[in-house]
């Protein structure tokens, strides 16, 4: 029994190790960790940058609302989608956002099971990022149905029309996968927050703060019996979330792989999509972590160790993705199928060649710089590379969705796709929604798990008598 209930973190890891940067700067204690993280929410004056950033994000969110309102008013005809390219930006953005979410679950669940101490200071906001990314992702397929007010028809419920969803369709699998993913991510995030909400309740100076954080903390009092069940629950959730996160992007890839469209109908899709999801997710965590640690002065907690480790994960998953591209090429040739063989030729030299080569540049070539330690320890360069990977992964989904659809079996049904103003507004609008939610999170909830940070301090170790 004791094995499964070991402290999740190795307390010694907090001490400066052999040449590697520590996960927490030396000299911190229970009280300094608690005060530093909780004061961002409770005491510190909200920085002017927060207002500016939140305001800008809110403007983009308004653009999203405008775009969606017009869409509901007019229909999907306002987008560039038409036969043969019926999927367009909506599906590109859906896959991109869902993929970004995956890093949060990977950091919180898989790295927890692997006892990676360094996950502790980034898991909370990576999980928040997951939730907000899934929220943005969820918008797209719903509005893409054409009649979003009837989207609840996707769920199996007894109805007077006497019809039921088609369970042999990957699109229904998607409904279950994404809604389960959203629910489990929320539960995981909330369970992790409970002890910290209790800290905020106990430390808040205002009555409103005490009442709201108090209600959310549900009366958590740090009892040893409670902690024991809490730890068990947290580990079990991590164990459940691990296969879940792999399944979600697998199911998303089935949306493509189960179809017979050339370029989609391949078995490499599930693993290659999962690797791509983790790749883009880590890039997004990096994109967010670098400015946040600078603005809030959290370099003690989000150290160079974290940035270097994330860079390494990006390098590995980037190579898996590159391998996926190579396999696609090889199988297209090796299959001997002329439709399959046409796909890579069209991608490389067709009307969307610019998108294809940009994706290779962003996802395969530039990230090779991460092999060099000099690059991995240079914060501005890491930030730029992470932005480039975000763009590259978006282009990858664009290439997969659009180039396969626009040239199918019959040349008479070929066509082209170009996004409209409303396509772009919806996409940019979801970035605004994502950032607005993130700004609210940074302002009102502890962005680093205080309770978990305490466990990796040297003084948390119980000395033997």
């Amino acid at each position: 029994m004791s094995d499964s209930l070991q402290p999740i973190e190795d307390p010694n890891q907090a001490v400066v190790g052999a040449g590697r940067p520590p996960v927490i700067a030396p000299g911190h204690t229970f009280s300094t960790v608690t005060d530093k993280i909780s004061s961002i929410v409770l005491n510190r004056k909200t920085p002017l940058g927060w207002y500016l950033g939140f305001g800008a994000a809110l403007m983009l969110t308004l653009l999203l609302l405008t775009a969606l309102t017009y869409l509901i008013f007019k229909g999907v005809g306002i987008w560039g989608v038409n036969i043969p390219v019926g999927w367009g930006f909506a599906i590109v953005n859906f896959v991109w956002w869902i993929g970004i979410g995956h890093a949060g679950t990977l950091i919180s669940a898989i790295l927890l099971l692997l006892k990676q101490t360094w996950r502790t200071s980034i898991n909370r906001f990576a999980e928040a990022m997951t939730l907000f990314a899934v929220a943005c992702a969820g918008i797209f397929p719903v509005v893409h149905t054409g009649r979003p007010w009837l989207a609840y028809w996707l769920f199996p419920y007894p109805n007077t029309m006497d019809i039921w969803p088609q369970f042999r369709s990957p699109l229904i699998w998607d409904v279950f996968a994404v809604s389960t993913y959203a629910t489990v991510s929320l539960l995981f995030w909330f369970v992790g927050l409970i002890p910290d909400l209790a800290t905020l309740r106990d430390r808040s100076q205002s009555k409103v703060g005490r009442v709201i954080y108090g209600m959310l903390a549900m009366g958590w009092r740090g009892s040893a019996h409670h902690w024991h069940r809490y730890e068990t629950a947290y580990l079990l959730l991590a164990g459940l979330a691990t296969p879940l996160v792999v399944s979600v992007h697998t199911v998303v890839s089935f949306d493509f792989a189960v179809g017979i469209v050339p370029g989609w109908h391949t078995t490499i899709f599930p693993p290659y999509f999962v690797a791509g999801a983790i790749y883009s997710g880590f890039a997004m965590v990096m994109t967010l972590a670098i400015p946040i640690r600078a603005v809030y002065g959290l370099e003690d907690f989000i150290t160079m160790r974290h940035l270097q480790n994330m860079a390494k994960v990006m390098l590995v998953t980037g190579l898996i993705v590159a391998y996926g591209y190579a396999t696609e090429m090889f199988i297209a040739w090796y299959s001997g199928d002329k439709y399959e063989g046409f796909v890579p030729m069209n991608r490389m030299f067709g009307p969307y060649a610019v998108a294809y080569w940009s994706l290779i540049l962003c996802n395969v070539i530039i990230p090779q710089l991460l092999w060099f330690k000099k690059i991995r320890t240079n914060v501005p360069t890491l930030f730029i590379i992470s932005l480039i990977v975000n763009v590259g992964m978006w282009l990858e989904r664009f290439v997969i969705v659009v180039t396969s659809l626009h040239r199918d079996f019959l040349p008479s049904s070929w066509g082209n796709y170009a996004p409209t103003f409303w396509d772009w507004s919806t996409f940019v609008g979801t970035i605004g929604l994502f950032l607005a939610l993130l700004f609210l999170f940074l302002r009102f909830l502890p962005m680093i798990s205080i309770a978990e940070m305490r466990t990796i301090l040297p003084e948390a170790k119980v000395s033997e008598e």
Binding site: T180, M215, G219, A224, R229, Y230, T232, A233, S247
Partner: protein, 178 residues
């Protein structure tokens, strides 16, 4: 003060080691109705208090099985009985296509039973608890460690227990009103 109107006596400590030692000694002394409070999980504490295994894993297993069977049964009933449609000549009971949804339902039900089970076994939400009446207890979520021996323990005696707690070198011993 009569022991019936108080919830217990609470000792405050500076570090996790003292709390674990105190809990071990109290358990050796024969106290059973007690609880320790700390700002982060301490594995040794659970053993020191002599508590038992939690039933949570069993609850999660049962939840997962219900989700698994329920999800598959729903798909079977919908596809074979309620709304049979011939899709490309595939059998109505095309089980491989039912696996992804079955899997997702398993995870969903297991995760929900995990969180709700944990909260239920812990008796949360519980907005008020007697320990909150001790002002210094607010530090239990920051950097202090508390051991509370409850008055319902048969061995509890207000004077005797207080004397015992004082021998553990606490920062302070306070009375917890009920």
């Amino acid at each position: 003060m009569k022991s019936s109107v108080i919830y217990g006596l609470m000792a405050e400590f500076d570090d996790p080691t003292s709390l674990v030692t105190a809990a071990e000694r109290a358990h050796r002394e024969g106290y059973r109705s007690m609880d320790a409070y700390s700002p982060f999980p301490i594995e040794e504490l659970h053993h020191a208090l002599g508590s038992k295994h939690t039933r949570l894993p069993l609850i999660v297993l049962i939840g997962g099985l219900i989700g698994c069977i329920g999800g598959y049964a729903l798909e079977y009933w919908v596809s074979v009985i309620a709304y049979p449609i011939n899709i490309g000549g595939k059998p109505l009971h095309s089980w491989p296509a039912f696996i992804p949804v079955t899997f997702e339902c398993t995870i969903l039900a297991a995760a929900l039973s995990c969180v709700l089970g944990m909260l239920a076994l812990n008796g949360l939400p519980m907005p008020y608890h007697p320990v909150f009446s001790v002002p210094r207890f607010a530090l239990a979520s920051r950097n202090r460690f508390f051991l509370c021996i409850e008055s319902k323990d048969p061995k509890f005696d207000i004077e005797e227990t207080r004397r015992f707690l004082e021998t553990l070198n606490p920062r302070e011993v306070s009375t917890v009103a009920d």
